[in-house]
């Protein structure tokens, strides 16, 4: 995916300005026309309404306390995803329910991370509909239950807090470094996984084997032990895999093993699942949520708050990426001169 850098000093506001254009029927119709999609009046109003409401929920979530912010963000997310799904397909998605359900036996688990949700996998469930659009058709049916912990461990911007709070638990993302090299005048890019990031796993190959769709993107990884890095060379005509943090750092996603299958929903869907779980707890089980909010003494609250902040900032960004087909990177960059002396100096990805 190409990268579009947008200079801004307020990415949260600016991403909504870009998304907000689709709150206007004229812009929606122009988009649908451009994409040769049907311009149904109801659908246009649906899209406009979803985007407006979505922004309102996200805005309302900012000053809202932890008691209600997960639910506000979940409603904001579902509206946003529903509206954009309709925009991209030209039709309202056939959604009748969330597509997820709580595992009530885990509501009173000691940690929020141990609360589980299940996937209905139904064609009229919101989650599966959104997976079709935002997660390359990842099939979530028959994947059993997912814990809040494994959802949190799948968010790149949360890795540090996750590992600090849930010691001994392994994350579901591994950072990679995009590297430029040269041999005999031929320049090429490749990626490197630091062995120190693999060292936390039982053995490096276990983690590598779990990287979702690795073979479609890279040559079979070969490495020595001991070694500082595992190099990943792009396949000729391979696909691009992985996800990025808010600041553009690339991560590879480790698949979740569910009923013998390897499942790897996109970061966007992971966030939606997390918001559903936390939103459900806060809305329907205040007797569980309230004590956590008031008196958590484990530090888990920090992880949850950070998760919500990341969703607030990055979920709309990920949706924008899907709409534009480009990875939008908001940067704080002042104007510089054009350097013709060192034209090949290191540039950001």
């Amino acid at each position: 995916m190409s990268v579009t850098r947008i200079a801004t000093d307020n990415p949260k506001t600016d991403q909504w300005k870009l998304l907000g254009q689709f709150a206007y029927p004229t812009n929606i119709r122009n988009y649908l026309k451009e994409k040769s999609l049907p311009e149904d009046a109801d659908t246009v109003d649906f899209i406009a309404g979803c985007i407006r409401q979505s922004e309102a929920y996200f805005t309302a979530a900012v000053p809202a306390p932890l008691d209600i912010s997960p639910l506000l963000l979940y409603y904001g997310a579902t509206n946003l995803l529903a509206g954009i799904s309709a925009l991209l397909s030209g039709a309202k998605p056939p959604i009748e329910h969330h597509g997820m359900y709580p595992d009530k036996s885990t509501i009173n688990a000691p940690r929020i991370a141990d609360f589980h949700i299940g996937m209905s996998g139904s064609a009229t469930g919101a989650l599966q509909n959104f997976c079709t659009v935002f997660s390359a058709g990842c099939v979530m049916s028959n994947t059993g239950t997912w814990s809040v912990g494994e959802i949190l461990g799948s968010v790149p911007d949360l890795v540090q807090e996750y590992e600090n709070c849930y010691r001994g638990t392994l994350p579901y993302v591994i950072p990679v470094k995009v590297t430029r090299a040269e041999m005999h005048g031929i320049r090429f890019l490749y990626e490197r996984i630091a062995m120190s990031d693999l060292a936390k796993f039982p053995d490096p190959q276990t983690a590598i084997d779990l990287i979702a769709d690795l073979k479609s993107a890279y040559l079979t990884p070969r490495y020595n032990i001991p070694s500082e890095f595992v190099p990943l060379y792009y396949k000729q005509e391979g696909t691009e895999i992985g996800t990025h943090s808010i600041f553009g750092k690339k991560f590879l996603q480790l698949a979740h093993v569910k009923n013998g299958k390897l499942i790897s929903p996109s970061q966007l869907i992971i966030m939606l699942m997390g918001l559903y779980a936390l939103g459900f707890l806060s809305r329907y089980y205040p007797e569980r949520w309230n004590p956590f909010v008031r008196t958590d003494n484990t530090g888990e609250r920090l992880v949850i708050e950070k998760f919500l902040e990341v969703c607030q900032r990055y979920l709309p960004n990920l949706v924008l990426n899907r709409v534009t087909g480009s990875r939008i990177q908001f940067v704080y960059e002042t104007e510089t001169m054009l350097d013709l002396v060192n034209p090949f100096k290191d540039t950001p990805e």
């Binding site: 041999m183 005999h184 005048g185 090429f188 490749y190 020595n224 060379y233």
Partner: protein, 328 residues
């Protein structure tokens, strides 16, 4: 049948021969020895080991002396026998050319640059049977450069001795090797652009190029058979191994590739024959190629690291100069 296909059939017969196992066992015994280490660097198949064995005393002299045991008598016999099958094959392949131009015998012999005293008696092994050799030679006789060599010789003045032929052809081969697979030598470009098609100088160069092509085709054939003795399959550099390409040079059939050093590619060395996926203008064929340059050259370079290689495509006549001399 094309020379290339005939060569593949011959390789299949070699794979199934009884002598192959004997040679492989011998190879396992001398695998870590100095004879093999220095012999491999000669890029002369079995002759390399025989020469190093013969010249052991030279390695023991000089500022960094190397004393190492030689081959046992039985081992020498087996290697000499294998080499003699190769030379028999080469001779049969160019029989028609040698009938017409006996003075080119040294020039087209891929082993001519090596000074080795062949033993007077050599045991016979079934590595390359007389039948297999005859079949291969029959296909090789159709090598187009044989006809060109004979035809161009008619226009040249007589009196080109064996020594002159040998020196001039070897000089051409050395210059082409020095230039590498990614560039056409300047002298060749000048001939192409400034000399008339039938000028004496251009005709002589065409004549030498034909002989050099035949020499290198035999060298390719010998190397293919040699590799087949030890490995059933050729190393393949394709999408499963290639990291990136440099530009493909149409005039030479050469291309630089950066690949992931792993698997059998770990053991690649210069002049090996491999299959490589070339990036031509409109297609990406997997083609028989010769390794012209490797960086790093040492084979025990850590696995997983990128390695640089320059390869030259080999045509259906096993000629690595096909693209280079086309239209000369």
């Amino acid at each position: 049948m094309s020379i290339r296909n005939a060569a593949f059939q011959l390789c299949k017969a070699v794979w199934e021969s009884a002598s192959r196992k004997q040679i492989v066992d011998l190879n396992d015994k001398i695998h870590n020895g100095m004879v093999m280490h220095f012999g491999d660097q000669e890029h002369a198949q079995f002759l390399g080991y025989l020469m190093v064995n013969q010249e052991r005393h030279r390695y023991a002299e000089g500022p960094h002396p190397f004393n190492f045991p030689g081959l046992e008598a039985e081992q020498q016999q087996l290697l000499a026998a294998a080499h003699s099958r190769f030379t028999e094959l080469n001779t049969q392949c160019v029989a028609s050319l040698l009938d017409a131009l006996p003075n080119v015998s040294q020039a087209i012999n891929p082993y001519s640059r090596y000074d080795y005293k062949t033993p007077t008696e050599v045991i016979k092994i079934d590595l390359l049977t007389d039948e297999n050799i005859a079949s291969m030679a029959s296909s090789f006789h159709a090598h187009p450069q044989i006809a060109i060599a004979i035809e161009t010789s008619r226009i040249l003045s007589p009196g080109i001795t064996t020594e002159i032929y040998h020196n001039d052809v070897l000089k051409m081969v050395n210059e082409l090797e020095k230039e590498g697979p990614l560039k056409t030598p300047e002298w060749l470009q000048r001939v192409r652009h400034s000399e008339k098609l039938d000028s004496p100088r251009r005709t002589y160069i065409r004549h030498l190029a034909a002989l050099a092509s035949i020499r290198e085709s035999l060298r390719t054939l010998d190397q293919l058979i040699f590799q087949k003795i030890f490995s059933e399959k050729l190393v393949v550099l394709d999408d499963d191994r290639i990291i990136t390409y440099g530009p493909y040079t149409v005039n030479t059939g050469g291309m630089p590739i950066i690949f992931q050093n792993a698997g059998y590619a770990l053991f690649l060395s210069k002049h090996d024959i491999i299959l490589a996926q070339l990036m031509a203008l409109t297609s990406r064929p997997i083609q028989l190629c010769r390794v012209e340059k490797l960086d790093p050259e040492i084979f025990h370079f850590p696995p997983g690291n990128p390695r640089y290689i320059e390869v030259k495509a080999i045509d259906e006549h096993l000629n690595p100069y096909g693209a280079l001399i086309d239209g000369l």
